[in-house]
Amino acid sequence: MTSVSTDKLPPSPIGEGVSAPDGPWKRLLAGLLSSPTAVLSGIGLILILIAVLLAPLYANHVAHTDPFRSGLSAKIEVEGKTVPVMQRSTEGLGLGVTPIGPTWSGEYMLGADTQGRDVMARMLYGGRSSLLIAAASTVLTLALAAIIGVAAGYTGGLVDGVLSNLIDMMWAFPVYLLAISLSIVMIGKTFVLGPIELSSSSLIIPITIIGLVYVPYVARPVRGRVMTIKNSEFVLAARGLGVRRHRILMRHILPNVLSTLIVFAPMLTALNIVTESALSFLSVGVQAPNASWGTILQDGQSLLYSRPTVALAPGIAIMVTVLLLNLFGDVLRDVLDPKSARGR
């Protein structure tokens, strides 16, 4: 059989005087901009991103604090009076020490946690960790899912059998059980893999764990999509013309799978934020001295009665970010997959 390169196929019928249709990225952007929900949620997400990126500026120049150092003996000035950050009870039996509440000013705007640290400054730094972990683990999940899904769906046969069963096995584990198990193994001690040495506080560990546990949830639909595309007319035509397998993969399969992956991205990021928070809340995610919204939520748990803002602040941050991501992801899916939008 003669191999025919698509480079030598006849030129496009679109000629002079006929304007070329918009590319997929332009159509995507236009679709997003035409949706007020996408615009507002996008602006919201950008504002959150800017805020967390400015965390060092806030800590150094507004809060004047190091949010990773205990401030159990610290004092601040409130309404002209110097008061301790950790306030000892003077009533009744004199039991208990309560961190200072929200001052609504630069220092200790949202109050202090059980270590006397500025909650607002930690919220911003914690947001950096939470968003970084969520985004990076999303990229990892999508990359691994694309490789596995495409390999299984396109190759078929034994490779598909092995990979599909592997996906099924991973799917059989409840996500949090799998994540906690991996965390306990990886966070237990310094993790050494060849020249790479990861301490228990490294953010790469939660990124890897969260990135791995959601792979089956993306790989399976990707595999299905690949199998559909593989048998579509344009791919069959390309094969009939003798186009090489890897070229079909790169030119026809991957671009069509990409839209599926893009639709998954914001939803998965939202899910990863919640997963990271849950793991950190259970002490098996982000480890001190790093902070994340989940660890701050955990710090706030022991102050629910006396200083609820410590738990409320990260809770609200998680809720708002996840909501914005889901709203944005919803519009993104409608734009990239109009069929499903019509069907709803």
């Binding site: 000892r88 004199g94 039991l95 059980t114 001690k189």
Partner: protein, 563 residues
């Protein structure tokens, strides 16, 4: 209460008149008092805990939670006095009719067994039960078999081959004379303390030589366990065969039934007690409820000193703490007052810089790691600490602090991580489940550099802190049961500890003076950072009366009433 009221009334008269009035009133008051106490008998006491204490076997369980219950369910030949305050450190005869006769060389103890005492299954307590119970300590590999009871003749064979343990020559019963003789390899002035621990409880001779888990073993105490589900609840009822033989050793309980529920959270337990749905909770009260309870429930709160310490053992065998200067630096740097804040403030914790707790035998105030060395800790000395770190050349090294996953331990660990970072180390905190942290930090294979842990006394003797926690004999590399967590073994200090224990048999005061010096000697080598001595805080429901506190068993449940 009535007697106190009378004596207060009589304070206006002469001493003689007061005496005469009091003497005249006693015959009338005593029956009235007994009647009042009888009126308190009955009812059900409701206790709560987040989790159970594990196995119900009194010769295996080593938790404060269940030792508290064993004080009312099991007896040894001798027992710690069930009394309030320091008196509770006194050893009194329990199943033994009187204190044992001890040979001149201190190696032989002869006990005469009390007659007429029955197990909760109706069987009489015999000398055979005593022998079988002491053998069972080794057969079930009780956690203290190698530390408390290894001095009994024959114990060495029992430790190497538990299943065949006979303690031949070590424990001899004479059924006719109703005596049991225990022979020791060497004099042990602390032996009666050790026999008073629940691990030396006397159980029926037919008790299986295995961990009985959730199955209650018949005992001789005022209560007996009737049901136990480690995930749900524990029930104790009156022992139908119990007749009070010694109010000091085993007083009769007031409540008819004690129900212990497991599950929920510390917060929900506080709410339950405040709402009268429960009478008490074992777990520490949540820190953010303390201020509220401190003002709203003053009559229901009881604060007591504990013979305990929170400390941070540093592994002296791995970097950076294999350099004494690095260990001393951390001792200088830690702000004990700050840590007291983590634990609920000065009403609940006292800063310390020694191993032996305040008011403990052998304790003498001394603090070398403070800004102005003297009797007590005053402030951290960061300059000195940084200089020591620089001298040691360990700056920049990685240090991981291992804590339990509860708020207090995590708080202390986070604080230590912050201080270590201030000193120039690359410090992290690792939180490990409370179920395994204590064994995890003991095993040298885990390479734990520094951890946060606590030690509560088993009996009131300095060796129970110094020798147990820092003696060479307590260090077992590669074992989960190596209570010398720091891996500290100084042969000279170890020899001094052995000499002090021997001296205690003949001259307890001189021995305690020596223990004070040993305490300082160990602290000069700084294998640990003493943090604070905790105080126990108990919240009881409004209906609970007659709270009494024992140093070893905490609240004496049997001595309180609920109606």
């Amino acid at each position: 209460m009535d007697l106190m009221a009378i004596s207060k009334t009589g304070r206006r008269g002469s001493a003689l008149a007061r005496l005469a009035i009091t003497a005249a009133m006693i015959p009338a008051v005593v029956p009235a008092l007994a009647q009042a106490q009888d009126a308190h008998r009955g009812g059900t006491m409701h206790l709560m805990a987040v989790a159970s204490g594990g196995t119900l076997d009194p010769q295996i369980n080593y938790t404060a939670q269940f030792w508290q219950l064993y004080s009312a369910t099991y007896d040894g030949l001798v027992a710690f006095k069930k009394a309030d305050g320091p008196e509770s450190n006194t050893v009194v005869p329990d199943l033994a009719a009187e204190m044992p006769t001890v040979s001149a060389d201190g190696k032989t103890y002869t006990f005469t067994l009390r007659k007429g005492v029955k197990f909760s299954n109706g069987d009489d307590v015999t000398t055979e039960d005593v022998v079988a119970s002491l053998r069972r300590i080794f057969k079930v590999s009780s956690p203290t078999s190698g530390s408390f009871y290894n001095g009994i003749v024959g114990a060495e064979d029992c430790l190497s081959s538990p299943a065949d343990c006979t303690l031949e020559g070590g424990v001899i019963a004479d059924g006719t004379a109703n005596t049991v003789t225990i022979n020791l390899v060497a004099a042990d002035p602390e032996f009666l303390f050790k026999l008073s621990a629940p691990h030396a409880s006397i159980l029926p001779k037919g008790t299986a030589s295995k961990d009985m888990g959730n199955t209650p073993i018949p005992g001789t105490g005022t209560y007996m366990f009737t049901s136990y589900d480690a995930n749900n609840s524990l029930t104790m009822e009156r022992n139908p065969h119990f007749v009070e033989w010694s109010v000091d050793a085993q007083p009769e309980g007031y409540a008819d039934t004690i129900e212990y529920k497991f599950g929920g959270t510390e917060e929900s337990a506080v709410n339950a007690v405040m709402n009268g749905q429960a009478d008490w909770s074992f777990d520490p009260l949540p820190a953010d409820r303390l201020a509220e309870l401190s003002t709203n429930a003053t009559d229901q709160l009881h604060v007591h000193a504990q013979s305990a310490w929170w400390y941070a053992p540093m592994n002296v065998n791995i970097s950076p703490f294999n350099d004494v200067r690095a260990r001393q630096a951390l001792n200088y740097a830690v702000d004990r007052n700050a840590l007291v804040s983590v634990f609920g403030g000065p009403a609940l914790a006292q800063p310390v810089c020694q191993i032996l707790p305040p008011d403990f035998p052998g304790h003498e105030d001394s603090c070398i790691y403070t800004q102005d060395p003297g009797d007590t800790w005053s402030a951290p000395d960061m300059d000195k600490a940084r200089a020591l770190v620089a001298e040691s050349g360990t700056k920049g090294e990685k240090v991981n602090v291992v804590t339990e996953d509860n708020a207090a331990s995590r708080g202390v660990g986070t604080y230590l991580q912050s201080v270590l970072s201030d000193l120039g180390y690359d410090a992290t905190v690792q939180t490990v489940s409370g179920d395994i942290q204590f064994t995890y930090i003991q095993n040298t294979n885990n390479n734990v550099q520094i951890s946060v842990t606590q030690w509560y006394m088993d009996y009131p003797a300095a060796s129970n802190f110094l020798n147990v926690l820092f003696g060479c004999g307590s260090f077992h590399p590669g074992s989960d049961s190596s209570i010398n967590i720091a891996g500290f073994c100084d042969e000279e200090i170890d020899a001094r500890m052995k000499a002090a224990m021997t001296l205690g048999a003949t001259d307890p005061e001189a021995a305690n003076a020596e223990w004070a010096k040993i305490d300082n000697a160990v602290m000069e080598k700084a294998p640990a950072v003493p943090l604070f001595t905790p105080r126990r805080l108990d919240l009881l429901s409004e209906r609970v009366g007659n709270f009494e506190y024992s140093s070893l068993f905490n609240w004496l449940i049997a001595k309180s009433w609920v109606q």
